[in-house]
Amino acid sequence: MDQWLIGIAVVFVVLAATLAVLTRDPARQAVVLSALGLGLAVLFAVLQAPDVALSQLAVGTALTPLLILLSVRKVTRRPDDGSSDLSSNRNEGSDPERT
């Protein structure tokens, strides 16, 4: 059972990492990176390294993608180009019309 879990986690990490390299758009890359971070956290947890898994979960899944998204948002010059950035997603999520 453990070996299956490790195998699945390793395969997922390899696939997610390859996908992260092949993704060219930084905003999409941040999302893939987040999934990769989650996969790595699971891998570390099944390999009995909960300390590293915790760091990986916090930094790799939350912090790094957030910093990338914020940078993308700042660097993106055209205001209508920001459809994939953090803030407009957020505004969509908290749209007052949905209440």
Binding site: P50, D51, A53, L54, S55, L63, L86, S87, N91, S94
Partner: protein
């Protein structure tokens, strides 16, 4: 340097690394085997200093000097980001607007924020006993605070975030790590030597200097990351581009 020369240089370096890596891997113990020479010694060293979490014992006792380096890297990162992301003379400050948020989202944030903060403090405080520690707990604390932004708006987050205090806390915590190390040097003759009373095994006060260094790292990571994120968020939310000065609508849209 041309692209071709760069590629050749990379291939040469990659070949050398590949050979040495392969040779090193041949002598590695098999995956999942029962023999852990380093692990056995680390556990013995941790038990000797009555630290229940062996990882923390490695991080803050046997390899405390490495952690000083890592902590300094983070401090330098925050310092560099603060310097680079400060508001330039030609950039405009756009005050973040109050946003309409669903009442349930606000309630969710108000309930979850204290819980997340307590989890962060717990992970920092129990670093010497259970998985976690200053770094992990510090990141949890830093990200937990941003629930205020997710569940309310940027103004609420700014009110919850005393940046001046956090900057000072970051510096003091970073410095205190070195000061604890120097105390070890003066008292016992070795930098970062574990000189504090060791306490009772599996109690929160056990491990000598481990919980102290752990707490210093926790404060440093939490305040450093909040400051780092603050500068990124300021850039993304509140600082407008100088070129867009004539189109206030576009600024308002891009700045909320």
């Amino acid at each position: 340097m041309t692209a071709r020369a760069r590629l050749l240089m990379f291939l040469a370096a990659a070949a050398v690394i590949a050979v040495f890596f392969a040779v090193a891997c041949v002598r590695l113990p098999a995956f999942g085997s029962a023999s852990h020479p380093y692990g056995d010694r680390a556990v013995a060293a941790a038990l000797e200093h009555r630290t229940a979490n062996v990882i923390s014992s490695v991080n803050f006792d046997t390899r405390a000097f490495d952690t000083l380096g890592e902590e300094s890297i983070l401090f330098g990162t925050v310092l560099g980001a603060t310097l680079l992301l400060r508001r330039a003379r030609d950039e405009r400050h756009v005050r973040a607007q109050a946003e309409d948020v669903m009442t349930t989202t606000r309630l969710f944030g108000a309930l979850l924020l204290p819980v997340a903060l307590i989890v962060g403090v717990y992970i920092v405080a129990h670093g010497q006993l259970s998985p976690g520690g200053g770094f992990q707990g510090g990141v949890v604390l830093a990200t937990a605070l941003h629930l205020a932004y997710v569940a309310a708006d940027y103004r609420v987050l700014k009110r919850l975030r005393p940046l001046a205090v956090l900057d000072v806390a970051d510096s003091i915590a970073a410095a205190s790590y070195s000061i604890i190390g120097l105390t070890g040097l003066i008292v016992a003759g070795a930098f970062l030597k574990n000189i504090a009373p060791l306490g009772t095994f599996n109690e929160i006060t056990s491990g000598g200097t481990v919980p102290v260094l752990n707490a210093a790292v926790g404060v440093e990571v939490a305040s450093g990351l909040i400051a780092l994120l603050a500068h990124f968020l300021d850039q993304a939310v509140e600082i407008g581009d100088p070129e867009q000065r004539d189109t206030p609508d576009a600024n308002a849209q891009g700045g909320t």
